[in-house]
């Protein structure tokens, strides 16, 4: 299998680390090498966070080189724009269309960038917007990370059972059903 680089971006508290852990487990179960790099500490308090995930036969750097990511999996529009330079030419963007205003916007010091979907569409890459409509995300924003993994799963060479097994290995039992439902909803979009 060729190496796959996935950059997961979002806002502190949205679960980028858990999404990364599930991808890592998936790779481990498939006998692949995997490395991940995460944001911890101060930046987690509602700040911009990213998780690098790299899987393949042999992975060296835990950081994806700038301009090398195959996938940008983004939980928020503005963060999609911020981390776009990581995406390689011909890569794929899967992003949640909801916008979360950062402090400078809430305080009306700056405005939230306009026309993000149009700007993304203008790039020569595959763009997959996810609104979350008709998925468990509508009721529970916390499962957004898993739903987006469901969308991503259609682009990666793993079977559904492998994904569900990785979920079972990673998610606490009491949230497993909810998360499986969210994953399958994402997969069927």
């Amino acid at each position: 299998m060729n190496k796959i680089d996935i950059l997961i971006t979002g806002v502190g508290g949205q679960g980028t680390i858990l999404a990364g852990k599930i991808l890592g487990q998936l790779a481990l179960n498939a006998n692949l090498d995997v490395k991940m790099a995460e944001t911890h500490g101060m930046a987690q308090r509602g700040g911009s966070v990213i998780t690098h995930v790299r899987l393949g036969e042999k992975v060296y750097s835990p950081l994806i080189p700038l301009g090398a990511a195959d996938f940008l999996l983004s939980f928020e529009q503005l963060e999609t724009m911020r981390w776009l330079p990581y995406l390689r030419r011909g890569g794929t963007i899967i992003y949640h269309t909801r916008s979360l205003a950062p402090l400078p916007v809430l305080c009306k010091q700056m405005s939230y960038p306009a026309h993000i979907p149009e700007q993304l569409d203008a790039l020569e890459v595959q763009v997959i917007p996810v609104t979350g409509e008709n998925t468990p995300v509508e009721k529970n924003p916390r499962v957004l990370n898993i739903t987006l993994l469901g969308v991503l799963s259609k682009h990666l060479p793993f079977k559904q059972e492998q994904w569900l097994e990785a979920l079972e290995n990673t998610v606490p039992p009491k949230f497993l059903d909810l998360n499986k439902e969210a994953f399958l909803a994402g997969q069927s979009l």
């Binding site: 500490g41 987690q44 509602g46 911009s48 080189p65 301009g67 390689r88 950062p102």
Partner: protein, 590 residues
């Protein structure tokens, strides 16, 4: 068995497998999870200490008592522990002792990016540098063996990208745990000058033996590739360089101090050019240049910030990765971290801003109050500095005490604020100190400390009485206030600033993220809102102005995001028009 572990989890695993029975630390990103994880293994006595100096001293005692010991801290923590560390290098150890220090190149969560590899050189103590989680696990074991073999503490240096990256680890079996019996050796452990002189000679002999040891050490690896380019590197930089120059020859130093000239010269003779790939300071580079070997390094690579694969490639004029033509990102609104909804710090710092005070600050979540919109902090140097800094300003300008306050968190006060407050009292200061007591070490992820009443291993214990502690230092004006009651808090600050003696205000409100106390959100009465933005001055992420629409011809009015509002009612105290009215305070736990 293969599992995925972060670097920090792997260090804990390695310590467990190596038979460590005592471990100490003070939290600090990126090192915190080491002890949090080790505490989950059976048979290891793990504790949070009030600061890093104490942690290392307890560790030194445990080693003297015959146990294998691990002590962990972030890079700046070793400054605090430097005093025992430098002399521990002379005494040596009984049970193996490993000091894990986690550097933070790039300053993701730190006030500086000092390069702790200097400490190995200063103390003449061997240093190992893992590049990923499996190496971290193995190097903990190796470090403890080296410690016992050479009678020395050993440094294991990680960086944020090692501590907080995950990769595959082979876990091994549980070890046997043996304690060496204690026997008195005063000439080795009592560092009087006469004894210390002898020990320093021993340290020098040890250093020379370690150089020989490094020559053939299996963690110093030569990977033969092209003879055109040789790369000398250590830690995670190895992986960046491997990504950028898969064809090159490599000398990867696992035991990165002391260096073996024999090994380096051997490698240098096999390649035409040498590229030193190391983060921060040119330490390996300078040592190797001093051996008379010509290398490139900091002439091509930055001396600040962390390295990344593309930086290593570009340093050697190589462009490998082709990104999309992304629109410029510099002008995008930033997303700085901020106080959580319901955080008591917000009320305290808002008050200090309104009173236009000079605020000497400290390190913790409350340091975020230096950022807009609060911008209520004038200085922040290191943990514990706020109190001394405020007192110093008062010495420079004798009227400063009336308009200056020190703010310091509860964990930070216990870490290193107490002695400075003692100085204020002893040297007749008039300083006002606000201890922001949220009942936890929040910034690093809610660790217990000596005033929380619980240990790292979740046992109930005595909780330091902050009021009594402060009084015992000689501060007679001590009061406890709720920082979210703005009027009363403001009054308290004004009163304490007006008296010419030291005072301490304990601003007590539990951390919102930890306690998850949840009241009803305020009631928004749209008709009353005139869009004055007074409420936005507190920087609460639950508050925003929304367009009410041209139909109503009203412009912007306040809105509350009920999903994230914590119902702390701070904003309702700022609204003079009745647009935000207190919600019901049931104090339910979410």
């Amino acid at each position: 068995m293969k599992v995925i572990l972060s670097g920090n989890e792997a260090i804990a695993r390695g310590a467990y497998e190596a038979g460590v029975t005592v471990a100490t630390a003070y939290p600090g990103t990126p090192s915190t999870e080491i002890l949090e994880n080790l505490a989950t293994y059976p048979g290891v006595n793990c504790s949070w200490c009030p600061n890093e100096k104490v942690a290392l001293e307890v560790a030194a005692g445990a080693s003297l008592g015959g146990a294998r010991v691990l002590v962990a801290m972030k890079h700046v923590g070793l400054n605090v522990a430097a005093d025992p560390f430098m002399t521990l290098a002379y005494t040596g150890i009984e049970g193996g002792l490993i000091l894990v220090c986690a550097d933070d190149p790039g300053m993701f969560s730190s006030q500086n990016e000092q390069d702790n590899r200097y400490y190995a050189r200063m103390a003449k103590v061997p240093m190992l540098e893992p590049a990923d989680s499996e190496e971290a696990r193995l190097m903990v074991k190796e470090a403890l063996d080296i410690s016992e073999k050479f009678d020395t503490p050993v440094l294991l240096r990680t960086t944020t990208r090692v501590s907080h990256s995950r990769s595959i680890v082979n876990v091994e079996d549980e070890p046997s745990r043996a304690i060496r019996p204690y026997s008195k050796k005063a000439a080795k452990y009592v560092m009087l000058p006469a004894f210390a002189r002898l020990r320093h000679e021993e340290v020098e002999k040890r250093r020379k033996r370690l150089i020989d040891f490094a020559t053939t050490h299996p963690m110093n690896i030569i990977e033969k590739g092209s003879s055109e380019l040789g790369i000398i590197t250590a830690g995670v930089s190895y992986h960046y360089a491997k990504e950028a120059f898969p064809e090159a020859s490599f000398l990867k130093l696992g035991l990165s101090y002391p260096l073996s000239p024999e090994l380096i010269k051997d490698f240098a003779s096999q390649v035409k050019k040498i590229y030193m790939v190391e983060e921060l300071e040119p330490l390996l580079e300078n040592d190797i240049k001093a051996m008379g070997i010509k290398v490139h390094g900091k002439d091509l690579l930055p001396r600040t910030g962390e390295l990344r694969p593309e930086i290593v490639a570009q340093g050697w004029q190589k462009n490998i990765w082709q990104g999309v033509n992304a629109p410029a990102t510099e002008k995008l609104p930033g997303r700085p971290p901020l106080f959580c909804p319901g955080c008591g710090h917000r009320g305290a710092l808002y008050t200090l801003k309104r009173l236009k005070l000079t605020v000497t600050g400290d390190i913790g979540c409350y340091t975020l109050g230096a950022l807009p919109p609060l911008e209520a902090m004038d200085s922040c140097i290191c943990m514990g500095a706020s109190v001394g800094t405020a007192f110093g300003m008062e010495k420079a300008d004798p009227s400063a005490w009336q308009k200056t306050v020190a703010v310091i968190g509860d964990s930070t006060f216990l870490h290193s604020g107490i002695t400075a407050l003692m100085d204020v009292v002893y040297n007749k200061g008039k300083t006002t100190v606000i201890i922001l007591d949220n009942g936890t070490t929040a910034m690093t992820g809610h660790q217990d400390h000596p005033a929380t009443g619980q240990t790292l291993q979740k046992e109930p214990t005595y909780a330091v009485d902050l009021e009594a502690l402060v009084r015992s230092l000689g501060v007679s004006r001590v009061r406890v206030e709720n920082p979210l009651q703005l009027d009363a808090f403001r009054q308290a600050v004004k009163e304490e600033l007006s008296v010419p003696e030291p005072s301490v205000i304990i601003a007590r409100y539990p951390c919102a993220l930890k306690q998850r106390l949840q009241n009803e959100p305020p009631l928004v009465v749209k008709e009353n809102c005139i869009g004055c933005k007074a409420c936005l001055g507190i920087g609460c992420p639950a508050l925003s102005l929304e367009e009410t629409g041209p139909a109503e011809d009203q412009g912007l009015t306040v809105a509350i995001d009920e999903d994230i509002c914590n119902g702390c009612n701070l904003c309702t105290q700022l609204c003079r028009y009745g647009a935000l009215q207190p919600g019901e305070g049931k104090g339910e736990t979410k």
